[in-house]
Amino acid sequence: MAAALCPCRAVLARRGGALRALCGSVRGLAAGPETHFGFQTVTEAERREKIYQVFESVAKKYDVMNDSMTLGIHRVWKDILVHKMNPSPGTLLLDVAGGTGDIAFRFINYVRSVRERQLQRKLKHHQNLSWQEISESYQEDKSKSLGDSQVVVCDINKEMLKVGKQKAQHLGYSEGLSWVLGNAEELPFDDDMFDVYTIAFGIRNVTRIDLALQEAYRVLKPGGRFLCLEFSHVSNPLLSRLYDLYSFQVIPVLGEVIAGDWKSYQYLVESIRRFPPQEELKAMIEDAGFFKVDYQNLNSGIVAIHSGFKL
């Protein structure tokens, strides 16, 4: 015990580690079950707090970092997600953990272009109408450029929503877009409300994935679709080694150089490794009550899109 009181720094440092472990387990008894934050073990309450802080700190550089880390490929992944969704005008979408609005904007663009094609087709059929009748039909359709489609962006983090709203203003998105502060584990929406529920690169940060999936099931209409875009597991051993090397060696460095924040990006790559692989996530989605659950690997499993239906 005398050794523990020794002022020598090196010894104290080692003791500190043992003490921390002891305190950790005492805290655990008080503050809830244990879970992980990247490769660390923390309580659920601590994890939520730490993740909130991560996104608060990265919010402003989120988009720049995404482009740098994935060399712009994340845009393609998100495009594929929205194409898979294939929304028609009139669809009501809930984008959870939608923070900076990437999915919401793509949804709006997609629906707008579908709507335009619809209108063009309608016009072709009206070629025998008079000029006056055609211009009158323009007036009606102008107010429905989105065709009653709506997207609600829900995120737990105020900073991310702030960045999203600024982006929307900057890019000129206003119609059919709503921003709501909410927790994926306890959504502030009524049952059977939405046609589609998406969560892109968000479910990994949720502390209780099972609760988030249950909430997704609850708020979807019968016939509604659940879509999840998330980093997943690479089974090819060579690619996996290269991916690990890139993730652990390069990404935190990019985080430090571009965003001045090593630790958040260290958390990001660790959290990807901790996330359940494709089959396990599929089972969890089925457990929540979804049917026809399936997944599609993108880039050999670096990213996967899981899909399920509420029937």
């Binding site: 580690g17 043992a18 060696q249 430090e256």
Partner: protein, 241 residues
């Protein structure tokens, strides 16, 4: 005792991931290389990223820092600094007392410098990527003493002044970051300033740097009352042009 020993062994197994000081982020050689390259680029691209200059210093200092530490160890005042580990921070400085000192003293001129240039000693980045606890202190000391360098050299915090101080520091410390800063800093200066720099300021900075004893071996906190000119003479810095 057995239990404690076991725990110690556990800690030692994790030695690679263990933090040597608060804020320490252990990095692999590849990461250090990438950081050095990335921070060098970013520091030039965006001169307001002072954190990148700091990171560059840490990742490239593996030869210069032990050198500096040894210089400190073999000097009585430097040795004391390494033992006592003084920190220059607003919380440790008695600003009122320093302001009250007569004009021309180190303390008075230092406070004047801070106020004129609207800087504070608390904005210095703590080290993250230095893999030795003592060397981390050495680089921290170097950062905290930087403002005193400005005071002793009589240089303001504009681009020109910073470049001059970097030349001086490059000669004194041999830190690659200082050398790079001294070499590339002038890129952003106008031709007129470059002329002044090249003809007067840099030669003076080099002469002073070579002549002066190691600036990290001065216990500045015990010399607030000493007149700046006397301290300059003592260290070996020539009067500024």
């Amino acid at each position: 005792r057995g239990g404690e020993e076991e725990k110690e062994e556990e800690e030692e197994e994790e030695e690679g991931c263990y933090r040597l000081y608060p804020g320490h982020i252990p990095t692999s050689p590849l990461q250090k290389a990438l950081l050095a390259a990335g921070s060098a680029f970013m520091a030039l691209y965006d001169p307001y990223r002072h954190d990148m200059v700091a990171v560059l210093g840490e990742t490239t200092g593996c030869l210069a820092l032990p050198n500096l530490r040894d210089k400190m160890k073999h000097h009585p005042e430097g040795y004391r600094i390494l033992q006592e580990r003084p920190r220059i921070r607003l919380s440790t400085l008695d600003m009122a007392r320093l302001r009250g000192l007569p004009d021309g003293t180190l303390g008075r001129e230092y406070v004047r410098f801070l106020e004129d240039n609207k800087v504070s000693p608390d904005t210095r980045m703590p080290p993250k990527f230095v893999d030795d606890e003592e060397l981390a202190y050495v680089i921290q000391r170097y950062r905290e003493v930087h403002d005193l360098m400005h005071t002793l050299l009589g240089m303001p915090t504009n681009m020109l002044g910073e470049v001059v101080v970097k030349w001086f520091e490059a000669i004194q410390t041999g830190l690659p970051m200082c050398v790079l800063g001294a070499a590339f800093g002038p890129v952003r200066l106008s031709t007129r300033k470059l002329q002044v720099l090249a003809t007067e300021l840099v030669p003076w900075a080099i002469r002073s740097g070579r002549n002066a004893s190691c600036i990290l071996n001065v216990y500045y906190e015990q010399r607030w009352e000493q007149p700046v000119e006397s301290l300059r003479e003592e260290i070996g810095i020539f009067p500024p042009p």
